[in-house]
Amino acid sequence: MLTDYLALLLLIVGGFFFFAGTVGLLRFPDVYTRLHALTKADNLGLGFIMAGLAIQSGSWLVAGKLLVIWLLVMLAGASVAHLIARRALQRDITPWQR
């Protein structure tokens, strides 16, 4: 029962981070700041959701697979964010300044 509540909490937190990522994607002023939505908010949200599901599934095998998926998503997200940001700088897109 306690694990159910814990899983529920983790899933809600995960959903919140996804929401934060979407808001960031829509509201941040330039491409460099929007990268944060991808690399931070959504990956964290995915991590929380994975954790909640892993607890809920109650199987080490499933938990391990979810962990692998999460690590792969983070690897892809981080690499892509770097590649896009570097190319954007090379193309003289100026970062936003207040």
């Binding site: 979407t22 829509l26 896009i84 954007a88």
Partner: protein, 92 residues
């Protein structure tokens, strides 16, 4: 719990659809590509939730494949479609 999973799925789907605005809006190619990358992450999240909800373990493999290949399109974008400097005149 099943009801909550349903809510979570619909919520994630709405997040996904909201990303369309960024793809439409741009303004740079990078923004559009970034939004597509976010779609991949959200899809992975939805797939693992569905795997739990429908008790179909194979859906985790779909999520695994999407996670693995999430980078390929973006790498193609950076390496091919968005070169360092334009060969022809550009607007930026």
């Amino acid at each position: 719990m099943a009801l909550f999973y349903g809510f979570l799925l619909i919520f994630l789907l709405l997040n996904l659809l909201a990303g369309l605005w960024r793809i439409m809006r741009g303004p740079t190619g990078a923004d559009r590509m970034l939004a597509a990358q976010l779609f991949g992450t959200t899809t992975v999240a939805m797939l693992v939730v569905m795997a739990q909800l429908q008790e179909q373990a194979s859906l985790r493999n779909v999520a695994l494949v999407i996670a693995l290949l999430a980078a390929v399109t973006a790498v193609a974008f950076v390496r091919r479609a968005w070169p360092e400097k334009e060969t022809s005149a550009d607007a930026d």
